[in-house]
Amino acid sequence: MPRVIFFEHDGTRHEVDATNGVSLMRAAVDHSVPGIDADCGGACACATCHVYVDPDWLPKTGGRTEMEESMLSFAAATQDNSRLSCQIVMSDALDGIVLRLPEGQH
C-alpha cells in the first residue's frame, strides 16, 4: 500500500497507509493524524485540511481548482505549496509524499 508522511506543526512524524483513489485528507483522518480537521468531509468547502506539500512532491499533485483556490485564500498562513489535502488523490506516483501541517486549521 502506498504511504503518506505527515509532519505535525511541532515536527511529530506520522507515516500512514493510503489507498489509491482516496484523498490524502482521508488517509489522515482514518489514521487519526492530529491537525487535519476536515470539517466538511472532503467537499472542498472549508479549508480545514490545509497542508504544505513538500516542494519536491508539489508538481506531482496537480493544480488547484478554482474552488480550492478560493477556500485556500481564506485560510491562515498559506504558502505557494499550500493545498487542501481532500483535493489530492492518492496514487502510486505519490507513494512516500511528504506533507507538513500548519499551526492550526481555520
Binding site: D37, A38, D39, C40, G41, A43, C44, A45, C46, T48, M67, S70, M71, S73, F74, A76, A77, P102, E103, G104, Q105, H106
Partner: protein, 426 residues
Amino acid sequence: MNAPIAPTPHDAELQALARQDAFSMPIDEIDVSKPRLFQEDTIGHYFARLRRDDPVHFTENQFYGRFWSVTKYHDIMHVDTNHGIYSSDWTQGGIALFNAPNPEQRLQMFIAMDPPKHDEQRKAVSPIVAPANLASMESTIRARTAKVLDELPRNEEFNWVQRVSIELTTQMLATLFDFPFEDRKLLTWWSDVATSVPEVDHLVESQEARLAELGKMLVYFTRLWNERVNAPPKGDLVSMLAHNPATRHMSPMEYMGNLTLLIVGGNDTTRNSMTGGLLALSQNPAEWDKLRANPALVDSMVPEIIRWQTPLPMMRRTALQDAELGGKKILKGDKVVMWYLSGNRDEEAIDRPEAFIIDRARPRQHLSFGFGIHRCVGNRLAEMQLKILWEEILKRFAVIEVTGPPTRLLSNFVRGISHLPVRIPG
C-alpha cells in the same frame, strides 16, 4: 400576534400535536418560515416531513414572499458551495428571508456580497481569528470565564442567559473591537436590533426605527474609527478595517453593514450555544455523566452543541440563473433558503441525528457554520469560547439544575433562548 404559548421541549403534548399536524397536513401548506414554530420549538417536525416527502419545497408566504426551502444536508452543501449560481449579494436580496424592498435599507456587509468584493473585505478581518491570534486570546477568555462563573449565586434561581451567555459573549466582542468596556451592553442591544424583524418581534417599532438604532451604532463606531485611522495599526477589528486597503474607503453604509455582521456573528451565535449546551446536557443526563467521567470529551462535545443548537437556522440565497435542485426547477431570481437546522437533523448525513451525543466520531461535520466561501470566519473562536466555558464549569460545579423551561425567540433567523432559569446547589 399569537397568544403566548409556554414553549418547552418537555411539553410532550405540544410536540405530539405538532408532529401529527406536520405529518397530516397537505404538503403544499407547510410553511417552515413561521417564527412561531421556532418559538415553540416544534419546527423540527415540519422539517422531518419535508425531508421525507418534499426536500426542496416551495412556499408562498404573505410576508416573506415566494421561496424555496432546502432541507437535506447534501442539497444544502450544494447550494452553499455554488456561490456562482446562488448569490448572497445584498443587491439581489442578501442572506435573510426578509429583504427590504428598498435596496437602500439593506445592510451592506461582506456576508451579503459575492466575490470579488466579499473576498477582499473578509480577508481584512479574518486574521483576528486565525490560529496564532486565538492562542494569544485564550488566557484572557479563561480568566473572564472563571470570574463570571465564580460570581454566580448559589442556591438561588437565576437566568443563565443573562448572567453567563450574554455576559461572556459581550465581553468577547468588546475585546475584539477594543470597544469601551463600560459601554459593552450597547453591543448586545445593537446585535438584538440587527437581527430583529420589527413586523414579527416588535423589538423596535419599524424598519426605519431599526435602521435609526443601527445609525447610532455607526455614530459611536465612527468615533472609534477616527481615533484609530490616525493611529498606528493594531489588532482590533476597527483598526484592521480602518487600515486595510480593501476596507479603508468603505462607505458609511458598508461600515455599518460590516459592523452589524461582526457584532451579530460574534454574539447571537455563541450566546445561544452557551445556553443551548446547558439545556441539552440537562435533558440528556447520561451524556452529562459521560462528560463528568471524562472531561476530555469537551473537545467533541463543543461541535455537537453547535450542531444541536444551530444558532443560525438558515441562510438565504438568490438564484442568478435557472438551475435544478433536488429534482426541482429553480428559476433565476428565486429565493432559496438553506435550512441548516434541518440539514443538521438529516439521517442520510448524520448518524442518529435526533440524539445529542457528546462523543461522536466526526462531530465537526455539521452545517451550523455554513460551508463554502461564506463559512463562519469565527468558527474556531466560537469553539474555543465554548470549550473554555465547559472546562471551567467542570472544575467548579458538579451540577447545574435547569429549573424551568427555556423561553425561545420568536424568530426564524436566530434560534435563540432569552431565558433559562437555573440553580447551582452548594
